[in-house]
Symmetry: C2
Subunit: 395 residues, 2 copies
């Protein structure tokens, strides 16, 4: 058996659960820090553990290109290569093939793309992507799916949902390892009907866990939340629910409130390296002049290594001086902020106090709305993808 | 009392000693990692401790410009600001004023230079530099000195020695704090006569420790060693001897063999960030293709965190992928290599086996000669400084 999921409590739609994997347990709801290239940027594996991470995500696309999945397999698999002995999830690589500007074509066979490293051409098929992830050896793996760009027409969305279903079937058939769990992915853009149909189709394939893809790619937060909610209710209660690519503090609370168990997002670590640190009131930039003389911790009462050990003024100085330690200390703070949030949400769900907790958090936390929108557009460039299509390279 | 020095043993000219400071003891010979801007680049204070550092150097020039010495004083002093509770030494800032390309003039009054950050003009006088270092609060502080560029004529060298003596006297008179130790600095370029005269003059001022400056600035290794040796024998046996700016592995062994107790150098940490790692055979670059499939530690038997925890292949990958963790793991390895070398040298001196140890090390370790020369030229640009002089800005 690869994984097991136990639902411990519900509090409204919010769920507390426990996911057990060959590399350990994941109390849920849970957030996965992103180790794009087999490293959570700026942190050691011990630090990832210390901030409270129980599961980490790595990107198949990046590892396939460098150092190569066969290289990682020779090294004893991804856990051993990156020295992370806890639960690990790899994505399919599809999202990066679509979003990193190198998409050539999407056909029934798979996704043809150019490497962002050297322009070389590569084809990801559902079968190949399973083989790559079996070589990497994560505890949870994802099937190749088609994530339609935001703003795509209904016919295109529908075609993407159908293709994603066909690829899910092929992915199941391609598996060789029994010690990994393959999740199903529900697409459907912001169409309620397509989300319901996709959920029905994918759940009929009986996966041990389900992911909701194609959100947080440019649509409004209201749409993200609405789609997450209506998809979640279509999913079986006895399986974990993973909302892909979502992870600002307010999104985590809003989506746990809608029945999601698992998240991943590069935002907490990426904005940290730009000096944007989370506080209960929202995020603020440590390079702001008001921190220059703040000889106390950045966030009073925060239990992270950074706030426990250093002053805001020192962190401000490290950023101004572009010292490498700055990026580490900021990353530690933001990840601990998000992971403590997950721990607290689990606790209040178990205690039946989730709604009040979520309301209090969301009424205090000021969303970095505009910034988030810009960030999301950066991640997902539908225009660029369409231009590639118009060149006739698509099927 | 600020510091105390105890000579534990000698083995030929090599010395084992113990320096006691208000922030702890420094077994000698000792190497100081460089925390230019109040951070040993890429490391946390805990990691600096873990690699075996017992004393750290910070740069007054950089801290004066950013965040400012008054800011550090307000924060409770440099120890508290950077959370390093061990012994700490600050340099005078003079070397950076000369070598970072912003030198405007050197007069009897002091050194006029332009900030490398914003071009603003600043004057370092002996008195001001003492005040800055008293604000920073290190255990050991250094007087402003004049380090003549390599290749300078005898008259200029002699003038620099005289000026350095006058400034040393003024520095002693400017002191207000009794809990810091002010060292004397011996200049004199590669002139045997000037080195002897400078040593005699400076030691007549009765400092609690002596530094040898103006070496490793472009001259041959033979000259560096010869000058270190002949200066060291002029210094009182009951005071620590500090060779400034020297610190490649072979230089450390060669200069301990000539009676030096204390060193600082940015080379081990700087080359680490370029992927150049120390081995007993010399330094090699981890980005070399031969490390791609080396699924064992970089240096078999090395007791550093990097070699204990990760494979050479993973470190190779991190460098290729430009992951921030790469710079930290490489820095840890190089510092541990150098600091273990110091620990071993102390042990073999105490055991009377230093000569055989040094001979074995130096016969195995291949010096990165060419690279070192280039590096030294980069650090010290006499031509540039002379051009500034020729503009008539000098006195």
């Amino acid at each position: 058996m690869s994984i097991a999921f136990r639902l411990d409590a519900t509090d409204g739609p919010a769920r507390a659960g426990l996911l057990t994997t060959p590399h350990g347990a994941v109390p849920m709801p849970a957030f996965m820090p992103v180790a794009t290239q087999a490293s959570v940027k700026a942190l050691s594996p011990q630090e990832v553990r210390q901030v409270g991470a129980t599961i980490v995500l790595a990107n198949t696309y990046h590892l396939y290109l460098r150092p190569g999945v066969e290289r990682v397999a020779q090294a004893g698999g991804l856990h051993r290569f990156m020295r992370w002995d806890g639960p690990l999830l790899t994505d399919s690589g599809g999202f990066q093939a679509y979003s990193l500007g190198g998409l050539r074509s999407i056909t029934g066979e798979g996704v043809l793309f150019k490497s962002y490293l050297d322009g070389s051409e590569h084809l990801f098929t559902p079968e190949a992507v399973i083989a790559y992830q079996e070589a990497l050896g994560a505890d949870i793996i994802m099937p190749l799916d088609q994530c339609a760009p935001y703003g795509e027409g209904h016919a295109e969305l529908e075609a993407a949902v159908e293709r994603t279903y066909g690829w899910a079937v092929r992915s199941q058939g391609a598996r060789r390892r029994a010690d990994q769990a393959l999740f199903g992915i529900v697409q459907g853009g912001t169409s309620e009907r397509l989300r319901r149909e996709a959920a029905q189709a994918i759940t009929s394939l009986d996966f041990p866990g389900y992911a909701i893809g194609g959100l947080s790619v440019g649509e409004s937060k209201e749409d993200t939340y609405r789609m997450a909610e209506l998809t979640a209710v279509q999913l079986p209660a006895d399986r974990p629910r993973y909302l892909m690519g979502v992870g600002s503090p307010e999104d985590l609370v809003a989506c746990v409130a809608r029945g999601i168990d698992l998240f991943d997002c590069a935002l907490p670590t990426r904005v940290a390296r730009n000096g944007a640190l989370f506080t209960p009131q929202g995020r603020v930039n440590i390079t702001n002049a008001r921190f220059r003389e703040m000889d106390v911790p950045f966030q009073e009462g925060c239990d992270c290594y950074t706030c426990q050990g250093f002053s805001a003024a020192y962190l401000h100085h490290l950023f101004k001086a572009q010292e490498l330690l700055a990026y580490r200390l900021a990353t530690i703070h933001n990840l601990r902020f998000v992971l403590r949030l997950m721990e607290e949400m689990r606790r209040v769900i178990l205690e039946g106090r989730f709604e009040a907790y979520a309301r209090a958090f969301l009424s205090t936390y000021r969303s970095a709305d505009q910034e988030v929108r810009v960030e999301q557009r950066r991640r997902w460039r539908p225009k660029q993808a369409r231009q590639v299509e118009q060149t006739g390279l698509q099927e």
